[in-house]
Amino acid sequence: MADAIYLDNNATTAVAPEVREAMMPYLTDLYGNPSSIHTFGGQVMKEVDRARGQLADLLGCHPTEVIFTSCGTESDNTAITSALECHPDRRHVITTRVEHPAVRNLCRTLAKGDRGRPAYRLTEIPVDADGEFDMAAFGNALDDDTAVVSCMWANNETGVLFPVQDIGALCRDRGIPFHTDAVQAVGKIPMTLSDLPIDMLSVSGHKLHAPKGVGALYVRRGTRFSPLMLGGHQEASRRGGTEAVAQIVALGKAAELAKANLGKENTEVRAMRDRLENGLLQSTPGARVNGRRDLRLPNTSNISFEYVEGEAILLMLDQHGICASSGSACTTGSLEPSHVLRAMGVPFTAAHGSIRFSLSVYNTMEEMETVLAVLPPIIRRLREISPFGRQDSPAAAAGPQP
């Protein structure tokens, strides 16, 4: 699949060549343990700290506020359970209806009272038809019993951004810890965490051209913290376990590259995304964008093609080496379309035919033109096969049944 047109960067990204090169020595000659006293091991610690500095630079925070983890999910789990441990008297958790499973399933487990804890009260803040966060509902949900608020910064399916500054400010007023899952936002939009009322923030390496198996958690100085992984003194006793040096070095290098590419993300990548999206909307009737268009990540486009099914579209795109994803039921392995699209109230006619394109700086405008040439005929073909493709057909006239 060397010739693949890869438009699924919100799922995972290619390891950047510079990143691969940077991590290689730590998979070969420099295999020492950073905690060792001898020079052979100890020299490696300098590289871990350098990576910490590189990531802190991208996030706009102090290096000591960065804890390396194994993935975004670990960061999310650490942040939320830490807040609960530190506020044992509070029994209320607030999140949103559109979180990634890493947060959503943890919160729902807490609400069931698993893991030896009594059940927490859980509020999932709704979103509107554009995927926008319901600030009024959030204001009403906040109370003195709230132990933690966890709201994603950017939605992985639609790219819609949440007002984390406003959410954090309300939390700060009440002394409630605020965590944001920012695995999709980091590296795509500029951020200066030292200026923001965010207490904890999750990062995932493989979403920004580092390899899988490394993540980070930002913990603002002064935030009460309780580790998830108990063990050695690594990461200033905030995360036990020998440092995954090669992956950490990779994440540091990827953060440095991401910072250098932030401008490109918001000009070149945005232009490619807009070209693709506008081209599809113009060429294909019955297409609609899911999520507020002017409040999104620059790389993400979630488009629904009415009266066709997403998995069928993806497999036909796959024949042309084009990689994307879908919120349709058939692709998720469940029988219902994505929880994000359902939370937005996207009609089923459109939710089943939703396709997500997520770009990176490694895409080209030429690739967008290829997709624009290939996809509209696929939609036409599937609509020809579909009983609902023509509005005068008996099945379409009968309309969707409840």
Partner: protein
């Protein structure tokens, strides 16, 4: 990514029978947009009452489109009586198999055919017209669930969901589906075991049947929950030969599963002297050994 056979991919990418027949004698639509798949089947009969031409229109995933195309391949040239006998298994088999979670696509094909024939004969379509809707998310009736549970020998709600989609939405109907399973197969083995008369010795035949029942109803769903599966290869007296599949086949605690889960369960529910052996690494024929040993 679904693991589709080449035949499924071929019928999906190059369907032979997409479209609609003009002035059809048979015409039926099952499924709907909300559910995520729908199939309209139209067909024309010749003077002898055979299906001369048939076409499908399908909204759905690759396996739904492939199943529809396979259905038409299977029915053209047949009388309605012959066509009626076609089951969803025939469709799945024609395609070289479907992933279990996609079996409902083949059931949709069977439903469309039966509905079209019923409409043609002006008879009620039992699976849709006469049943009560159990799963409101996907509009599945008790009649359809009961038919599939019986025909496919299904024993868990998950299996029913794979074949009919029922129970795959809000999950509010799971208890109802369990009741239908119990209605078809009788109560779950835990209850049945308590009522078994332990004083009378078990015949070989009874033991074999019981082993099969416990594996199907009790052990298989448990293994499947962890991504594994089990196949009953042979029962010889009190020796039970099984093959562990899926995750179980490679699992590091396979031996533990075999002894602590499968053997214990069979000893508890069937016969305290049962010994279980895993013959999964070999083909069933080799596993059986020379015929003489079993005489």
């Amino acid at each position: 990514m679904w693991d589709y056979t080449d035949k499924v991919k071929d019928h999906f990418l190059q369907p032979r029978h997409a479209g609609e027949v003009a002035d059809p004698d048979l015409d039926a639509t099952v499924g709907n947009l909300t559910c995520g798949d729908a199939l309209r089947l139209t067909a024309r009969l010749d003077a002898d009452g055979r299906i001369a031409d048939a076409r499908f229109q399908t909204f759905g995933c690759a396996s739904a489109i492939a199943s529809s195309d396979a259905l038409v391949d299977l029915i053209v040239g047949k009388t309605l009586q012959e066509a009626e006998a076609i089951t969803n298994d025939d469709i799945a088999e024609y395609l070289g198999g479907l992933p279990e979670a996609k079996m409902h696509c083949s059931v949709m094909g069977m439903e469309a055919l039966q509905k079209a024939i019923a409409r043609y004969r002006h008879e009620p379509f039992e699976l849709e017209d006469e049943g009560t809707v159990v799963c409101t998310c996907f509009g599945v009736t008790d009649k359809l669930i009961e038919k599939v549970v019986r025909d496919q020998n299904l024993h868990s709600v998950d299996q029913v969901t794979h074949f009919t989609k029922a129970g795959g939405g809000c999950r509010g109907c799971h208890r109802e589906i369990e009741k239908i399973i119990e209605k078809v197969h009788g109560p779950r083995p835990e209850h049945a075991a308590k009522t078994r008369d332990r004083r009378r010795p078990m015949t070989n035949l009874a033991r074999m049947r019981r082993v099969e029942e416990v594996i199907e109803q009790d052990i298989r769903p448990m293994l499947q929950a962890d991504g594994g599966d089990i196949e009953l290869v042979d029962v010889d007296g009190r020796s039970v030969q099984v093959a562990l599949r899926g995750h179980c086949a490679w699992c590091r605690v396979k031996d533990f599963t075999l002894k602590a889960t499968i053997e214990d369960r069979l000893r508890e529910l069937v016969d305290p002297q049962i010994v279980v052996q895993d013959v999964g690494g070999r083909l069933p024929d080799e596993a059986l050994g020379p015929r003489g040993e079993h005489g």
